[in-house]
């Protein structure tokens, strides 16, 4: 049975204007992600990875092109509609964890559910279960500053899962973690993909992390330049090194 395409980007352009200069962050990006797929987007810095993932996550709209999320074109929606889609369908995991400092671990996890109007008792029950799942059941009342980086990212993962989204978007999820903690976080993501059947799109510049995914799309100058599947993962390292050198020469 052919799998449903949950994310489709068709000829997506994003052009920023910085004073007089136009910056083309995305230049005709085409990308398809199937349901329950674990995709890594790689590329040197400035290649447009984060811009691409922000588009998918409804955080930004393209200058040109179409983006379909679960069959719905989101390229031209208003902010209020985008916010609703974000709240229900997308779970974000950021490099800097982005937990809210004034709130406890539990409150951070309940916040997305609050914006969805889920009743308090239900929210707290679910948030506790999620904290248990990420192994932080004993850190309920801890504030982010009282948690280690790895713990914070696990709280962020629990938060991303709280509204039971279809898609998890992870932007350099291990970028601020040491390699051991990073691998632990990756194990969580893989588990979510395997057991919870989540679609995961992860942005990284680290090829070791990227190889944890099922497929790698390599982005350069705002478009996909090469795709790797598990059979060709061994080529990623050389390709990436060459690309980095090319970018530096420029």
């Amino acid at each position: 049975m052919k799998k449903k395409k949950i994310i489709v980007l068709k000829d997506v352009w994003k052009i920023y204007r910085m004073g007089d200069i136009q910056v083309e962050a995305l230049r005709g990006l085409n990308l398809e992600v199937e349901e329950n797929e674990f995709l890594a987007i790689m590329g040197p810095s400035g290649s447009g990875k984060s811009t691409a993932v922000n588009m998918v996550g409804c955080l930004d709209i393209p200058t040109k092109g179409e983006i379909f999320l679960d069959g719905k074109n989101i390229a031209h929606l208003e902010e209020s509609e985008l916010a609703q889609i974000r709240g229900r369908k997308i779970g974000f995991i950021f490099q800097q964890f982005n937990l809210i400092g004034t709130l406890t671990a539990l409150e951070n996890i309940t916040l997305p559910m609050m914006f969805q109007g889920i009743p308090k008792a239900e929210r707290e029950k679910k948030a506790k279960a999620l904290l248990e799942m990420v192994g932080l059941g004993d850190r309920i009342t801890h504030k982010p500053t009282e948690l280690s980086g790895g713990q914070q990212q696990r709280v962020a993962i629990a938060r991303a899962l709280s509204v039971d989204p279809d898609v998890i978007l992870a932007d350099e999820p291990t970028g601020n973690l040491d390699s051991k903690t990073g691998l632990m976080v990756m194990d969580f993501l893989k588990k979510l993909h395997r057991d919870e059947k989540k679609t995961i799109v992860m942005v990284t510049h680290d090829q070791r992390i990227a190889k944890q995914a099922e497929r790698i799309e390599y982005l350069h100058d705002g478009r996909i330049v090469k795709s790797f599947d598990s059979d060709s993962f061994h080529e990623v390292e050389d390709y990436h090194d060459n690309m980095k050198k090319a970018v530096k020469k420029k």
Binding site: N54, N98, F115
Partner: protein
Amino acid sequence: MIQEHFKLAVKNIRQRKLRSWLTMIGIFIGIAAIVSLISMGEGLRVAITSQFGFLSTDVLTIQAGGVQMGPPGTGVINPLTVDDTEKIGKVAGVKASISRIVRSADSEFNGRRNMAYVVSIPDGDNRREVERIANIEIDKGRLLKDGDTYSVVLGAKYGTDDIFGKPVSVGQNIVINDAKFNVVGIAKEKGSFIMDNAVVMNDETMRELFDDDEKVDIIAVVVRNVNEMDDVQERIEKLLRKERNVDKGEEDFSVESAKKALETLNDTLFAVQLFVYIIAGISLLVGGIGIMNTMYTAVLERTKEIGIMKAIGAKNFDIFVLFFIESGYLGSVGGAIGVTFGALFSLFLSFIGNAALGSGLIRAYFPWWLIPGALLFSFSVGSIAGIIPAIGAAKLKPVDALRYTK
């Protein structure tokens, strides 16, 4: 839902205790000033107005020495006399011309002394007129009648513990300026400071007590027709100028209708109050700007947080509400503290006024609208100040907000 936003907003305020307090002080001072100034101003107005209450509209009041706020007859060089009263009685349009003596005296009862405000009441037909125009009604005992010597009717306050620590009853004796008086009646409460504290005695007794046959402190003139008030006033003024040998514009006496005096006084009080409101308004405006400044800082400081909240599904409205509640809360709490302090301050002032100065004019009066009005107002100031920053916060683009670094 809004309840949740509220909790979140309050959490944010608590997080920034010092700044929140400092911001609230701005509102607090303004509201405290408004509440105390208005309550004192209203108290003064009520106190003064009620003292005019015993004067009917068909009465002209004549005093020597111009208009003054102190007890009538004090410090007057050329006092009015019984003779003046009689002459005024003959002026066309005058129904009755009544001499009244108004003095302060030393009273004693239950081993305690008090400064009493003693007024005279004349014999005959004029007795009815004074009872009418001064609105004297009896609560216990009876009114004075012709021929009552060394008898008094006391104001309603004497029937309470307020003056001598225990109520004076009908039939008991009270000492005034070392003379013994029999209490024949206690008047009904009128809400007027003067009336409720007054000691009323017959004219004859009062002249004996103060050893004074001639002087008159106030001449109360009842006119036949209220419409002729101005004409009668002119005639009396003309007569008195001639009698006292003064030119027009240099009168050492005043002829006033109670209504007009009250209007003049109210105009003055209004001007004072307006001034006070403007000053308090300015301080509130400054408080509001303080809130706005704090909210702008809060938005800037929490730009990233706004981005995070948007990323996890907060709508523009959610963000707006969060910041709006925060500023409204700063305004309301600042206002509530201000109301409390303002009210306590004016109660304290009126306590000082009563206890130390013995003045009934310094007292706090809280009109029903003052406290809810002040709270509503402070909430409005806070919310209005927060609207623009809150809109700014709500409109932030999620990507830009997320990328924001301090």
